[in-house]
């Protein structure tokens, strides 16, 4: 069934409002639906947040064609695959999903079902001789699967070349996570673990740090094989050489931010069983407003929400608290809105 209604192009409002409007217009207030639109190329694109909603509204000339589909029988593969020339097919596919079954497609799930995978990160802030790798163990049964050892490496220091002790990857377990990512190799020198430099730390210390961070391990290495490095314009490959230590401090704030953020994202919550009941995750307590810590926490939360992640815990905010600081209030509002729409992303 088709409905036609108008929106103010300059002030489209938020996606939730729009979503509510759609549900209202179609009189399906309690049905979960997927919203999509066709862009100027005729591709069917999803609308599920403020950004792509705004984009969709801005592309309307003047008409914006929106497709609504029940979530249960949605066919995700339809998104982003079709062009104008096969517009009819799109429509028919969407409207009569049964036909579509004949074509085997690679099924790509919705963003909320995506699972983070191991990757190279922070390429832009690191010197090209270094590589920062995030190993995600989530959802795989593979062991992290690598070994480290003591060794020594040559560094350029103000006093000339100097041999300094370092930590190296000594072995990769076949079939392990580290090997399957292809991002780490034997003899890579480990420089940092989750933002903390390993220099001056013993092998056992570094081992413990890695294991303690194993749920979200970010290690910065100097790959043994330097030929696969990304060469950026900012530096000519000739001069970059091994002179790396000097460039590290400038990136520290980023490293720190990244680390802290990563920690919040990944930190699994402890489980509590009350009175021998069902196990459940332990929620975070509402931060008390006076302490320094609480400020830090709020900022962290702020940052994480901006990244589209929300800690999976319920935010039971203590409204009776008297002296609530300004940051707190901002945070408060944002939380509420996020809670209402119910699209909490769980990693």
């Amino acid at each position: 069934e088709f409905r036609r209604f108008s929106l103010e192009r300059s002030k489209p409002g938020k996606f939730e409002e729009f979503y509510g409007l759609l549900q209202h217009v179609h009189k399906i207030p309690n049905v979960d639906v997927l919203v999509g639109y066709t862009d100027i190329h005729g591709d069917l694109l999803p609308i599920n947040n403020d950004d792509n909603y705004h984009k969709a509204v801005s592309t309307a000339n003047p008409l914006l064609r929106i497709f609504i589909q029940r979530k249960e029988d949605a066919d995700y593969s339809a998104f982003g695959t079709d062009t104008m020339t096969r517009k009819k097919n799109v429509l028919s596919n969407v409207l009569r999903p049964d036909n579509h079954k004949k074509k085997p497609h690679i099924v790509i799930s919705m963003p909320q079902d995506f699972r983070p995978v191991s990757s190279i990160i922070d390429v832009d802030i690191l010197p090209e001789t270094h590589r920062r790798v995030r190993l995600y163990k989530y959802g795989t049964d593979k062991p992290l699967g690598f070994y480290i050892r003591d060794g020594s490496s040559v560094r350029v220091t103000p006093h000339g070349l100097e041999k300094v002790p370092g930590i190296f990857i000594s072995r990769l377990v076949p079939g392990g996570l580290a090997q399957s990512t292809g991002l780490l190799a034997v003899n890579d020198e480990v420089l940092e673990v989750n933002g903390i430099e390993v220099s001056g730390k013993s092998l056992d210390q570094v081992t413990d740090m890695m294991i303690a961070n194993s749920r979200n391990l970010i290690i910065t290495v100097r790959p043994a094989n330097q030929r696969n490095n990304v060469v950026r314009n900012s530096r000519t490959s000739g001069s970059s050489g091994q002179s790396t230590e000097s460039s590290l401090p400038s990136s520290t704030p980023n490293i720190l931010a990244n680390f802290l953020q990563g920690e919040e994202e990944s930190d699994e919550e402890d489980i509590i069983i009350e009175d021998s009941g069902e196990p459940q995750q332990i929620p975070k307590a509402a931060p008390a407003s006076e302490s320094l810590e609480s400020l830090t926490q709020i900022e962290l939360l702020h940052e994480s929400t901006q990244n589209g992640f929300l800690p999976s815990s319920e935010m039971s905010l203590n409204h009776s608290a008297g002296s609530i600081s300004m940051e707190y209030e901002v945070q408060d509002a944002e939380h509420k809105s996020l809670e209402e729409d119910g699209t909490i992303i769980t990693l």
């Binding site: 163990k137 062991p143 992290l144 699967g145 690598f146 070994y147 480290i148 050892r149 003591d150 000594s170 072995r171 580290a178 989750n194 903390i196 730390k201 013993s202 092998l203 056992d204 210390q205 570094v206 081992t207 413990d208 740090m209 890695m210 294991i211 303690a212 961070n213 194993s214 749920r215 704030p253 720190l256 931010a257 802290l260 920690e263 699994e268 919550e269 402890d270 489980i271 509590i272 069983i273 009350e274 009175d275 021998s276 196990p279 332990i282 929620p283 975070k284 307590a285 302490s291 320094l292 810590e293 400020l295 830090t296 900022e299 962290l300």
Partner: protein, 960 residues
């Protein structure tokens, strides 16, 4: 931006931290590890002990202690005090001499190394030419005589160590007037002993190892007398009047020689083999002490019949018809006699014999009939039986303190009442601010109570749990009940006894309530004893209960050791702590955690299988909880207790035996090689360690899985009166933390006092928290509404603590090996955390709440966590915000046993074992410091009278 909000840059807090925290290693308690030399100054009345690691320790009156360390870390071979000076000379096994002196500095004396010196021979001479074998500090205090392996005696000036070459006594000069036939038979060989004449400082007695003894005139530089001994010489001793001297020999004999002006080559007066006629071992040192009644004391080391008693470490004292061979538990390093050193006194009149054995110090009272031992106020052998655990209790109420002392005094009746004879120096340290007890548990099932208030760690009382059990060795079977006519007349002395009859008796956990006098002690075979202090002897039956920690676990088979058998019927207990209840865990695995609540009269205990709660008032088991993971086969079969503890203790026993053999053999070696052997041995440990470090090591990086072994192992138990169910009512609760990161909380219902015996104590599980990082839980603590840790049981009742704030909301602090986490109560939600391991790669080994007072103002104090990590660092972490305050390196990270043995006190001090026999005391607090502070005053020297002082002789060379 966030970075700038981090604490630690707050100047006010930084200043406060300086007023609160400070790290000091203050004093070493116990008996020095591997002592190697002994010295004594009758003038200062100070004793010096040197060790194989190059340490030198001086002891005087209780509290008077000094310590120095040679940079070389070489074995100290000899120690000689300079007569009538606050100075001493040490000889190391690298042939270097070191001059140490006690100097006063801002009101306290300090031991400092002043000079070092190595004797150098002419170019091209063999090293043996300058290898020092005997040292004689001359009573003129200006020169040292150094006897060497080549037989030459060098003279060096003090304190500059300048060699006076024109005064060297060469062996050629000595041999000039020796009869040809004697000379041909034997050359001089090395100088074994140098002794100054007691009356005439110009005469020195020189003993060579092949038996020749020469009296040398220093003025005329020539030998005046030759004594042609026929046996290999071990040592020499002058009689007080200088008319005779005595020599002792390798064949177990001693000889008296007259010294008179008419005979320049006298025959011996008497030659005796005291334990003959069969071959005897060497007499390595001898004393001849005169008394008023005419009968001398002849005291000598060794000389036992080689075949039947060659393995004994003995010192014999002969006085008229009385003769006793004191039989020591370990090798005798050296000994000295304390006698009248007044130069005007006519007789020696010995009062005490001080013997340094390898594992303990024994002092014998020679004035009291029967020659009883004197109880030393320091240098206690902590390791008489290996230490298995320790527990510290601060601020003991005076009442309990006195009762423990009185119980202990009943055990010490066989000791002499003689005041401690080594009483030099003055203790300037202020009286200890409070009475502290350190309790050590031992492998043989004993608990020793030490006075840890001050510098001297002093044994107050010894408790044995053995009586409760039936063991193979009957405690009444005394090994030294020898008949009257037994020859030699051996008498065992000393307490060192490292061989445990049954390792299951070993004490693993101790908990003492200082207010009620209740003591809980738990051991290797799952035994938990609850005791009460009784001032009288008593005979009673010990109640017995079993706690089956496995309950309904299927397919279980315990392959570890059996439980200990108990004695039936009433058992007689001496005054002191007397057990009244025994709870036996089943399976009898080692008890890994213990908590006692004396107010609720409950005791909680945990093993690798689970934990239980016992009501010791009603003598009823309240509940047990099995914490085993079904897949945890290792814990089920119990290799922890059997393989690890039993095998380990066996291995250690063998190692101990082997070690003592090695060291005794080494001492018998020829002097030339001895030093090399020792050097090699000393280096051996280091090399072995280095080798281990050089071996290619790699570490596997693996996320922790839930299937790790020993997850059920109960690491910590904690009683708290807090809000467990709802925020309106608080109730007693028991908390337990396991190796697998699980925390269990049980809600307890303890009947009110008037109905305490009528109604049972009830318990119900209220919460179970699983830490996702699954690291072992090492500490649980509840903070009250003011974020103060809950007080100990009975603390409030005794008005010693503010009652906890029950209005505000309580918080739960869970410390795992990797993280500190604060949760709210009663609804558990996480509030704060510190991920120590993720940030620093270190793990928490020990954690305690400690109270720190400011050294600037009396009214400020705060509670913090004192933490010891696996790297041996000590950290202080603030409560309740979990901010790292300060970190100090404390223990070497390779020193695993040191880290494992560490205990913190409630006021920011701590102890850890630096050797099996020594505790190092350290302090993190600016306010509570227990360290030696003492003064050694130089007594007035009226120079002429003291020229003939015998201290020179006292410290003259001895063979080692």
């Amino acid at each position: 931006m966030r970075r700038f909000l981090r604490p630690g840059h707050d100047p006010v807090r930084e200043r406060l931290k300086r007023d609160l925290f400070q790290f000091n290693k203050t004093v070493e308690h116990g008996f020095p590890h591997q002592p190697s030399a002994l010295g004594y100054s009758p003038f200062l009345r100070l004793m010096a002990i040197g060790t194989r690691s190059g340490a030198i320790k001086l002891y005087g009156a209780p509290g008077v202690e000094f310590m120095g360390l040679h940079e070389e870390n070489n074995t100290v071979m000899q120690i000689h005090f300079i007569p009538d000076q606050c100075q001493l000379v040490t000889l190391l096994d690298d042939n270097s001499l070191h001059l140490w002196s006690l100097k006063q500095h801002s009101g306290a004396s300090e031991l400092r190394e002043e000079h070092r010196f190595t004797l150098k021979g002419p170019p091209g001479s063999p090293p043996s030419a300058t290898q020092i074998t005997a040292v004689l500090p001359h009573s003129s205090r200006e020169v040292l005589y150094l006897g060497t392996e080549s037989g030459n005696i060098f003279v060096v000036e003090l304190p500059s160590f300048r060699v006076l070459e024109d005064r060297t006594i060469t062996s050629e000069a000595v041999l000039q007037r020796v009869p040809e036939d004697y000379c041909n038979r034997r050359s001089c060989e090395l100088v074994e002993a140098l002794r100054e004449h007691p009356k005439n400082p110009d005469q020195v007695l020189i003993g060579y190892s092949r038996g020749l003894i020469v009296l040398w005139d220093l003025q005329n530089n020539k030998a005046t007398h030759h004594f042609l001994g026929s046996q290999q010489l071990e040592n020499l001793y002058w009689q007080r009047d200088g008319s005779k001297f005595i020599s002792c020999h390798y064949d177990g004999s001693y000889t008296q020689w007259p010294v008179s002006s008419d005979n320049k080559q006298p025959e011996p007066l008497e030659n005796l083999v005291p334990y003959g006629p069969f071959p005897c071992k060497a007499i390595s040192k001898i004393y001849w002490q005169t008394t008023k009644n005419g009968l001398p004391y002849i005291i000598f080391q060794g000389g036992m019949p080689r075949a039947s008693y060659g393995d004994r470490h003995s010192i014999s004292v002969v006085h008229g018809s009385q003769q006793t061979a004191f039989d020591f538990t370990s090798r005798v390093i050296d000994f000295f006699i304390i006698f009248s050193s007044e130069p005007t006194a006519e007789f020696d009149d010995p009062s005490a014999m001080v013997v340094l054995a390898e594992e303990e110090l024994v002092v014998i009272d020679l004035k009291t009939a029967g020659w009883p031992a004197v109880h030393p106020p320091y240098l206690a052998s902590l390791h008489c039986s290996a230490i298995t655990c320790s527990h510290h209790v601060s601020n003991i109420p005076l009442k309990l303190w006195e009762r423990i002392i009185s119980a202990g005094s009943k055990q010490n009746i066989h000791y002499s009442n003689m005041p401690w004879p080594i009483d030099g120096g003055t203790n300037m340290a202020p009286d200890p601010p409070q009475r502290d007890l350190l309790l050590t548990g031992h492998e043989d099932g004993t608990v020793r109570f030490w006075d840890a208030s001050g510098v001297c760690l002093h044994l107050l009382y010894k408790l044995s749990t053995v009586r409760v059990f039936l063991t193979d060795a009957d405690p009444n079977d005394n090994m030294n009940t020898l008949g009257e006519d037994e020859w030699p007349p051996l008498r065992k002395v000393g307490t060192f006894d490292p061989y445990s009859d049954d390792p299951r008796l070993g004490i693993q956990k101790i908990y003492l309530c200082k207010y009620s006098g209740y003591l809980a002690v738990a051991g290797t075979a799952g035994q938990v004893l609850v005791m009460e202090l009784n001032d009288e002897d008593a005979e009673h039956v010990v109640d017995h209960a079993e706690a089956d920690l496995l309950q309904d676990q299927e397919g279980y088979r315990w392959k570890g050791h059996e439980k200990l058998k108990t004695r039936d019927g009433a058992v007689r207990f001496e005054a002191g702590f007397q057990p009244f209840v025994l709870v036996q865990c089943q399976p009898p695995a080692v008890v890994t955690s213990l908590a006692l609540h004396s107010e609720w009269k409950l005791v909680a205990f945990g093993t690798s299988h689970g934990f239980g709660l016992f009501d010791h008032q009603q003598k009823r088991l309240v509940f047990v909880k099995c914490t085993l993971h079904p897949s945890d086969q290792l814990a089920l079969e119990g290799p922890l207790s059997r393989v690890k503890s039993l095998k380990k203790s066996l291995r250690q026993s063998f190692r101990r035996i082997r070690r003592s053999r090695v060291s005794s053999r080494k001492r018998r070696g020829v002097s030339g090689n001895a030093s090399e052997v020792q050097e090699a041995n000393a280096k051996f440990d280091q090399d072995a360690l280095q080798e281990m470090e050089l071996a290619p090591v790699q570490r596997k990086i693996e996320a922790r899985s839930a299937e790790d072994s020993f997850t059920g192992f109960v690491r910590t138990l904690y009683f708290a009166d807090t809000f467990l169910r709802d925020s309106s009512r608080h109730c007693p609760s028991l908390w337990a933390g396991t190796n697998g990161g699980t925390v269990y909380a049980f809600c307890l219902r303890v009947p009110p006092a008037e109905r305490r015996m009528d109604e049972p104590v009830r318990a119900e599980q209220a919460k179970e928290i699983q830490l996702m990082h699954r690291a072992p839980v090492v500490g649980i603590l509840v903070l009250d509404g003011r974020s103060t840790p809950l007080p100990e049981p009975l603390e409030v009742a005794h008005d010693l603590s503010k009652s906890p704030d029950m209005q505000g909301s309580h918080q739960l602090l869970v410390v795992s090996e990797e993280q500190f986490k604060v949760f709210t109560l009663p609804k558990v939600s996480s509030k704060l955390k510190l991920k120590l391991t993720a940030l620093e790669g270190c793990r928490v080994r020990k954690v305690t709440v400690a109270n720190f007072g400011s050294c600037k103002t009396d009214d400020y104090n705060e509670n913090d966590l004192a933490v010891l990590t696996n790297l041996g660092d000590v950290q202080i972490i603030s409560l309740p915000f979990l901010k790292l305050q300060i970190r100090y390196p404390c223990i070497r990270k390779e020193d695993v046993s040191g880290i494992a043995s560490c205990v913190f006190t409630k006021y920011g001090q701590g102890f850890y074992l630096i050797s099996p026999s020594e505790f190092e005391r350290f302090s993190l607090s600016t306010k509570w410091l227990v360290e030696p502070r003492c003064v050694v005053d130089v007594p007035e020297v009226t120079s002429n009278n003291h020229v003939h002082n015998k201290s020179g002789m006292e410290n003259a060379a001895r063979k080692s």
